[in-house]
Symmetry: D2
Subunit: 415 residues, 4 copies
């Protein structure tokens, strides 16, 4: 007794590697295939088409295979509706719920394909059947586990779901084509920074949203002033950081030091290690960053420019925070929700020297959002890519020279 299913693939399925991955998945999982039709795109701009019957000796094996093929963009020839099951309680998903990838996804409901809204990995998909009188359209969207409410209609199983992983760009000279190799330290640094600048410029000019995710190392490395210039010049549409970044940025403004080191003279004033905690108490005294800006206490820096230029920021709390500042969202779930909003609005994400915040933002991004991750530690970049943000482009460089060079390209060389 064997179990079979017919699947179809269409698109640049050879040169994007899709066929290779599908064949590999079938064989690794112990299935077999018989290709019924294979029309290769005979020219550069033609797509290919493949229809094959996949067979396995056990029903669960077949399902695993079909699941994998799905993830790679295959469609069943006779699609059925997705299976929906009501959540038994708040925060409790039905067993076997479908857990999302970060690729564009659709679910089949009443014979129609609904595009899943707010795509993000490791979520459940909830279907809203629409208004009672039939006026509202049905919708499908992602929900993280802790947002599930009793009776939410959650997609379970693998049926009726279509995933479209992004095809590799065919043209290496297009946007972001320049760094398809993932992470590399052995690349011409200034040329690469110029390409990043051009990408930011292009996003900016087309009205796109640039989200900058930053860690405190940006300040220690002396790049705070240049990042502040970028905010002032309008190249940053949102900022995602932590209590540490904001504190160090404000410390630099109040005392001229970062981690107790004078950012300009490199002198290491004794007592400098107290500046950090004094900064926090000063902001607490005023009630928050905006209040301290208004009171004339904070007079420059990244946070100052965010306040002055109405650039929204999220400061997410962490267990290693001192203080924290009143602006810090200390609850991880609330902070994630705030980060999620930023992530979903972003068209380009620039991650600067922070593993924690980069992974947190990366978790919320669909695979279609352009992402650049910059860190001097290759492990940070690698870890981000391994965690699923495979669209991210990594650059291993010194943030303390990266930001000034980027600012020069974006601000001084822009007409």
């Amino acid at each position: 007794m064997t179990y079979s299913r017919t699947v179809e693939l269409e698109g640049h399925i050879i040169d994007s590697g899709t066929m290779q991955q599908c064949f590999a998945a079938i064989m690794e999982l112990g299935g077999t295939f018989e290709v019924e039709q294979f029309d290769v795109g005979t020219r550069k701009d033609e797509t290919s088409y493949c229809r094959m019957v996949v067979t396995a000796e056990e029903e669960p094996t077949l399902q695993s295979i079909i699941h994998e093929l799905h993830q790679n963009g295959a469609m069943l020839t006779n699609p059925r509706d997705a299976t929906l099951e009501a959540a038994p309680a708040d925060q409790v998903v039905p067993p076997g719920f479908y857990s999302t990838t970060n690729h564009p996804t659709a679910v089949r409901y009443n014979g129609e394909w609904l595009e899943v809204e707010r795509v993000e990995m490791d979520c459940a998909i909830v279907v809203d059947p629409g208004g009672e009188e039939g006026t509202a359209e049905p919708r499908a969207y992602t929900k993280v586990l802790n947002a599930i409410e009793e009776d939410d209609l959650v997609v379970v199983g693998e049926t009726g779901i279509r995933v479209r992983p992004p095809e590799r760009p065919r043209d290496a000279s297009g946007p972001f084509g320049f760094m398809q190799g993932g992470v590399s330290a052995e690349r011409p640094s200034e040329s690469t920074i110029r390409e990043v600048a051009e990408e930011i410029e292009a996003t900016h000019e087309s009205g796109g949203n640039v989200l900058v995710v930053v860690g405190p190392a940006v300040i220690h490395a002396g790049a705070g002033e240049d990042l502040a210039r970028l905010v002032r010049a309008g190249f940053v549409d949102a900022l995602s950081a932590g209590n540490g970044f904001a504190t160090h940025d404000i410390e630099r403004n109040l005392y001229g030091t970062s981690l107790g080191v004078d950012v300009d003279t490199l002198e290491h004033p004794r007592k400098g290690h107290k500046h950090h905690i004094y900064t926090i108490s000063e902001v607490i005294r005023h009630g928050g960053i905006a209040e301290a800006v208004e009171a004339g206490v904070i007079t420059d820096g990244v946070m100052y420019e965010c306040v002055e230029n109405d650039v929204p920021y999220v400061l997410a709390g962490s267990i290693r925070d001192d203080g924290p500042l009143p602006d810090t969202i200390t609850d991880a779930v609330e902070a994630q929700d705030a980060i999620r909003e930023q992530a979903h609005e972003a068209d380009l994400v620039l991650m600067l020297s922070t593993l924690l915040h980069s992974v947190a933002v990366g978790n919320c991004l669909p695979s279609t959002t352009k992402t650049v991750c910059v860190d001097i530690n290759p492990a940070t970049v690698t870890q981000l890519l391994d965690r699923g943000s495979s669209q991210a482009i990594g650059m291993v460089t010194d943030i303390g020279t990266f930001v000034p060079t980027l600012a020069e390209f974006l601000i001084e060389e822009t007409p």
Copy 2:
């Protein structure tokens, strides 16, 4: 016009480097000194004594110098009481409050030296004058900024404070003498692990408290089972981790995988990347880890052994968490408080492959608590030491072989 003050130092002030640091501090800050008396310990076991007059041209400079000398253990010849000021509001410290180091500290109150309780860096010191009817004794203790309450009597300035930085152990063969060099990758690994084992053994036998701080890499590296054995054998008195560690540990139990890789066979089952989120939803369904253990769902692993052996654990939340598990403390301030309790009770802290949690625990530790930090990434160990936990001993090794080797030394070779 110059300003002067007489200070005294006593102890192994030459061979512990104290004199060197004091002279350096005076000169760097622009002061001068005149040594009035210097009695060098002429033999190995004799302490030295130094009395000198420190002079500066400005009062603030002198204060900065005195502050630094304080931090290195110098005492003023004519100590005065510490200055106390009432906190103007909740979470608001008076300006110029004294921010603590992590060294043993005393404050002078009514002519008496009160030992500061719960020493921890970057805190305020609050003095409780004792009961109204004079029955209760006055006390001094640390408070983090966000725990300050209106009218708390907070120490301000530098007067009346005594800090005793730990002297370097004179005998390199004593406990932890073996690794005084800080971090090093170029050391015999097995011999070093044996020394760590002996230290744990000694702490355990003397009834001390061993706190283990762990990151998820322990599970990915296949060391979960051996860590569970250590918990079962009683070598772990408390566990400090995050949502990720617990989830991966339980995933290994439920599915045999970690990050989707089979921990024993190294096979990479397709669909394995869903195990992670399924594990979380399974625990949520039962209401928590202990409940899932009781229900027979979780049957082995580190968390299982903690539940079964009544080893208390703290799971601190973070913005990169999935789920989270119901046991996770999502508020950073609450989580810090729970970590603080663990840290203050610990006699030996073993930090395994987690930068975030190691720094969070390290922030709460007095400089007298023995700390070992193990990570394959030298940057993690370095960062911890740079953040102030200078007593920490770093070992750069593979956690996946470290824990099994440690378990072998502790369990199999112990009579």
Copy 3:
């Protein structure tokens, strides 16, 4: 005016990624293709076949494309003989000479395909037409540039060359299937070491040649004794190292120290830093390592076991050497030749904690030799793979626990 050529591909060209790479190469280089025939292997064990016409607007572009397709295993439908040109002088290759990959390669000579001997990357191919009286067969083999002699018949251009890059193993459970993912630090360490042990065991039992490439860190990390056991037990057929490794190994025997640290007690004897140079002068005094073993001066360790068990070793010199020992080959070209011999005889290469020697050996290996590279620094492993040894499997772990664990698996658990 356009230029065209017909090429054929055959084999598992979809699931090994060959088709994908060929299409990508054509498009990146600005060519077009028209698939004339495409027979997809309809089942798991059937190969596929593709014949296509590749077209470009310039002859050089077409040649570049054909070159790339060649490198990926494509054949021209009407192959011609390779072009040969005599070397104009010693060490001088003709312009446009064919520079080899490390994949199995054949050249067409007099209508016959000659398998290129001693395949190695970045070499010239020399054809020896055979004996004057027609008794000897024609041969083709690689030569490094500095070995070229005047009048050598060197292959130039791209014509008449066939390259067969290794297909990815289809069966993930086969030899070395376990680590196809390249480098990863996030894998169960002990399970991975066990797989390496099994691979060595299998090579050993089938009479294969195991080459171990070692750096001095093996000794510093305390793994010298276990490596010596592996040599004594017969698991090492050849050793490739440098002057530093041998010196540290012998220092450990003579003084018990490595870099001046006692390997067992971890004590750091003063004067220990002189042991290194004393060791060298002691061996020089006896005339060499074998002589010092014979004289009873060297009594255990890796080098001792090599001498006693007739395991051949190469000690290649470097500009950072002290001494050097008399056994060290100080000329880089001579040392490379010695390494080349080792590399060509090896069936399995185990590289332990040395970037310099690993790259040197890797440069001489054909892509068909199994290679495992172990280092605590991910950059070492990455750099090796980036340099062309893409068949190498990387493991990021502590050599000081890796070797003991490997020795335990190989020696104690072997019946």
Copy 4:
């Protein structure tokens, strides 16, 4: 029965840490001390003086202690002449020969202190008694082991030797005071580069010799053009590199690529990986780099500017070299001799992204030569410092932005 010796120390022995190290050495080695006289410098600019009797129960222990105190600058109260012994054969030192540190050293000969010439670590000291007729003065100089000739008078034992380790600069604002902390990634990058630029500028203006040690990563990172500008502008007095650096630099000139990547456009031309080997064969064809420059083949780049501006360079061979270029010194001993000459002439050494060459040069440097080591990998910098070049200042940054920024500071901002 005990053994005693009286030693004296003089200088800033407290604030330079000398006293601390001496006391530690005595205690660690099992000796005791009795301080007979201790005159502390009562003011900033006064030196201290200490005379103490050191006692041990065994003569060898006492010798070990005296050896250690020597290394830290202590003098015996009744110095005797150094013991000299003739080398028994070429390259063979007498047993117990004195192995040098890299600190300024003097040996006592005929009652006179001879300053040791060409100080370098891990060498023997040879005394040349001077001319037969008494006209030539006696001299003492270092010799590496392989340069020892039969009958050389070699210093043995510890008697009659005086070592003067450099005192820590007292004034943090002086030259190179800015980075006393050794290696740190968490420092303001641009400010630090500016300080390095000022140091180079100062050395240049005072007629000092700037030696630049470079690895191929400088070219891959796109910094070749800026380094070439620095050579042209006269800021580089000598260059120390390997075959790989020169090849990549010339490849960039001939083909515009480095490792096959176009340095400006970041395009990755297929066939680019052959440029490397073609470059080598091209230079071989012309007979060398200077010849290829003269022939108009090489027209810009670092090597070109060295040839055109008569900046001497050493290209040291290594076992991972392709080719090599005719200019490469393939014998490690000969290459070391050439490097030694460069090292001894240098006043400031700038090491850029090369571990092998940095360690090789570092081995030959006296501890008084200013050294800056720049690498993106902290392990490279750490390893250099651990190997004895403790005067080296490490900067962890991206060479691809460091060199352009340095060039801008040195060339464009210089009046």
